[in-house]
Subunit: 294 residues, 2 copies
């Protein structure tokens, strides 16, 4: 079985980036010291995000490599969704032991490429290095009209808390196959008075306190209202990580017609009110959620 | 001794990004799902690069953490130098075992921040995860006027090969303390007929064949002319990696006055002619240089 050490770095990179599709805004792709792309047009801002998946933390040695690649890319797309932005160009850093089978890395990359294509993202460069475990870091640019991206920290007291989808139990498989809520986020930003938005990566129990604290607010959650994935408990819906659903703070003056329009636009994806942001900061955070060093 | 596990992810990030200096083009920095920055102005292109340093590959457990941070950032700046571009905004991904002392990571980050400040780069976000070793990935944006960046692949037969500085023996310490040739590269692109440029990260023996092959050319090197760092052999100057000097392909019609002006502008940094690019592709590459999976 051919390994990365047998293949060598240059041949590996040639194989991975062969026939990589590029949008016309890519002026120099893999193979130069930097990638060169056309900048966002006047009136649009540039958005930047990086994220990483580590063997033993975000996937196991048994995870199918195509799904590792898919997850590595989709996690970052989910962050652009959280800003109601459009992802554009990606850089991929691949760290792997020298003895890793070439085929495993190629399949991982095919998963990355397929997921990038689904979101019209171009992979424009990257880096490879040997290392003690398989680690994939994806850095991405995106863009949004100036003043039209949705921050995490601008929630207001009295805002309604909404979440998309169903929460909890992602570890059973959804953490590898989730759909970044890109179209949904842009729809919500256009049709609802959204003050703040984020994606749920570490679990509602950790991410909601972050959104509230960023605005100096507290929160009240009606635990029984949490939309639960099939077969999970309320505690799991509250504490489990890697839902990659959207959490929104929306003005209480949101029109019922807007919520009805959501059901028309996305009939299979629930949008659920789970609570309220309060003026009084929460003095102790609810336990649960995922700490990367815990 | 306080570790990352004792500190927790949110508190770690708060400590690392505290008082992070930002240029006025940064509209949202760490703490949101994505960073938001003003895009390059009309007529300028956006450049993207990512690079990574891995414990046991690019530094050892004994390396001073501030120097690890410095190297992680400077390597990427060196790639912007290689394009004659200006680096702007950086994202930092930090992977570390849970038992890593907090102080080690804080010192690493101080090294990163100091090196970023030296090159007027703003750190605008990043990511942390636990993992099997200390790994730092830096992704960076930069910009250059349209049509004014220097590619790697546009060398022409008959071009002179020039290198900045002195090569070899970087492993003794220079690989941690090198100076990215940012100002030098922009000077060279402005004053010399530079067709192609790259930075020497894997060693001349590996990087020169890459530059030649990218243009379908071969090369001839006068080995005795290689500018050697103090105490290194010609073989080391040829084969050692991590010089982070510039390799240039320059029109043979370069004016002697331009080379004399270089000596006036950068009196302490040699610019040495080491050979020529040839029409006939090299059929066998010279041995040496650094393969990341070898």
């Amino acid at each position: 079985m051919k390994t990365l050490a047998d293949t060598g770095e240059d041949a590996l990179i040639r194989r991975l980036v062969k026939n990589l599709p590029h949008d016309p805004d890519v002026l120099a792709g893999p193979g130069d010291d930097c990638a060169v792309v056309r900048a966002p047009e006047r009136g649009r801002h540039l958005l930047l995000k990086t994220d990483t998946v580590v063997e033993g933390v975000h996937f196991t040695p048994e995870t199918k490599p195509g799904l590792i690649g898919r997850k590595a890319l989709a996690r970052v797309v989910s962050d652009f969704a959280a800003m109601a932005a459009v992802p554009r160009h990606a850089l991929v850093t691949l760290i792997a032991p020298s003895g890793t089978p070439l085929r495993r890395v190629e399949q991982l990359y095919l998963g990355l490429r397929a997921e990038a294509a689904r979101h019209a993202v171009s992979i424009v460069g990257g880096e490879t290095s040997r290392g003690p475990a398989l680690i994939v870091t994806v850095s991405m640019t995106g863009e949004a009209p100036a003043g039209r991206w949705i921050p995490r920290n601008a929630a207001r007291a009295g805002d309604l808390l909404l979440v998309t989808g169903r929460l909890g139990g992602s570890i059973r498989g959804r953490h590898l196959r989730f759909e970044p809520r890109l179209a949904e986020a842009r729809w919500l930003a256009r049709h609802l008075p959204v003050h703040a938005m984020m994606d749920l990566s570490d679990g509602l129990a950790k991410d909601l306190p972050r959104m509230a604290a960023a605005a100096g607010l507290g929160f009240e959650v009606e635990m029984q209202s949490l939309p639960r994935a099939r077969g999970v408990t309320t505690e799991q819906a509250w504490g489990d990580g890697e839902d990659y659903e959207l959490l929104l703070a929306v003005s209480p003056r949101v029109k019922p017609a807007a919520l009805a329009a959501w059901r028309g636009a996305f009939p299979r994806l629930p949008l659920t009110r789970i609570g309220t942001l309060t003026r009084k900061p929460s003095t102790s955070l609810a336990p649960g959620g995922w700490d990367h060093f815990g």
